[in-house]
Amino acid sequence: MKKISAAVAIIVLLSLLSGCLFPSLHPIFTDKDLVFNKTLLGNWIDPKTNDRVLFENVSPKDLEELTPVFKKQADKIYMLTNKDARGNIKSRYYGFLVKLGNKYYLDYYPAETEKKKNYDEFFTQHFVKMHLFYNIQFTGNGSFELKQFDKGFLEELIKNKQIRIKHEIMDDGTYFITASTEELQQYILKYSDVPKAYEEDTITYSKIN
């Protein structure tokens, strides 16, 4: 019951968001910002954790979860499957490669897994899908690096009234970002070169095949 304890504590804090993650209700892209890089297709490994991620073209079946507007972008949507070191599927996401300014970003949006489809629908409909986004840098040696935006940095900007970005304040004082795509892009373009805007840890993936 150790984890339930944590869940209960979290309920009281009214925040199921991880402290440092920067999830957003809206995506960081419009259709004109999407690009597709074939180099990403295939299996990748994070040598630190042995976690693997498979980038594939999205399948027609996976597209059924999306609205018709996004189905039109099928040729620019990746399906990402994260697996642990033992090969168990941890999570699946729609992946959107986005070019803003002269930098590239990956927008992750949760997708169903076979396991999730078996969970009770009434329970799972209480979970809202959010976008997680990363700066992605191709390092040229069969690897790429992901840097996640730091929520704490954004929260400080909001608290200090250094930025105006649409959000909701939860009961525990944390922020739930509801900014539009346009606002998110303005934020990214303004702070993309600020090291503190990102989490310290960088995830590096190397190509397996």
């Binding site: 869940a7 329970f123 899908k129």
Partner: protein, 229 residues
């Protein structure tokens, strides 16, 4: 884009709306939360056996209790005191098992318009398989999810049946689209789902204003609980 195509796209996107609308904020405040002994017990809903217990009597009681009563009460802040009333004194745990997974949800009740409303929120899910008994965390924040609330009006038929009439997401979205209802919301463009982002106070005002309109409730997807014990 022609208006014809726009209409088709709007119609198609409406198909993706969940029937049951969810809210970022809760409906119930500590000062208006109600205790409702009629809901406690074992209930049957189609194939599911559902147990509803006051938090204090549930298997999560210790988990909740230690958050407040483990502390010196004198040291509790005003907010802690309010939280302990809402989440410990006046909360219920709804649990059920389905396909070897046990689900826990937190339920609060509030009287509005002389009706009783439930605010339902997911707590945790656990494998019941003794060889693999652990919490399932696939909906944690790190995987790109956040928890939300659903609201239902309770209709009691004697002491052995309760109907939960959930707010109808399709109807509310339609009314928002037509400008007939003003309630703060956000639409997820990828899935088409509506998330109500109105504050707790706004939510209560919304129910007070529109709660008597039966079109607000999704009667086709009402949940009927029949008492087992």
């Amino acid at each position: 884009m022609s208006s014809y195509i726009q209409k088709i796209l709007v119609a198609c996107s409406l198909l993706f709306l969940q029937s049951c609308v969810t809210s970022l904020h809760r409906l119930v405040t500590y000062d208006k939360a109600a205790q409702e002994p009629r809901v406690t017990g074992l209930w049957q809903q189609e194939e599911k056996t559902i147990e509803i217990q006051p938090v204090k009597q549930s298997e999560l009681a210790n988990e909740f209790n230690q958050l407040w009563n483990g502390k010196d009460k004198k040291q509790l802040s005003e907010q802690d005191k309010k939280d302990s009333i809402l989440y410990y004194e006046k909360s219920y745990v709804l649990s059920f098992i389905k396909s070897d997974v046990k689900y826990f949800m937190l339920v609060n009740f509030i009287p509005l318009n002389n009706e009783l409303y439930a605010d339902i929120y997911p707590l945790a899910m656990m494998n019941t398989d003794t060889s693999n008994k652990k919490e399932i965390n696939e909906y944690d924040g790190e995987f790109g999810y956040t928890s939300s609330h659903t609201f239902a009006k309770l209709i009691f038929a004697g002491s052995n049946s309760i109907e939960l009439r959930f707010l109808d997401g399709g109807f509310i979205a339609g009314q928002i689209g037509k400008g007939r209802v003003a309630i703060k919301n956000e639409k997820d463009e990828l899935s088409g789902a509506i998330l109500i982002t109105a504050s707790t106070e706004e939510l209560q005002r919304f129910i007070l204003k529109y709660g008597k309109d039966e079109r607000l409730y999704d009667r086709k997807n009402s949940v009927i609980l029949t008492r087992k014990a």
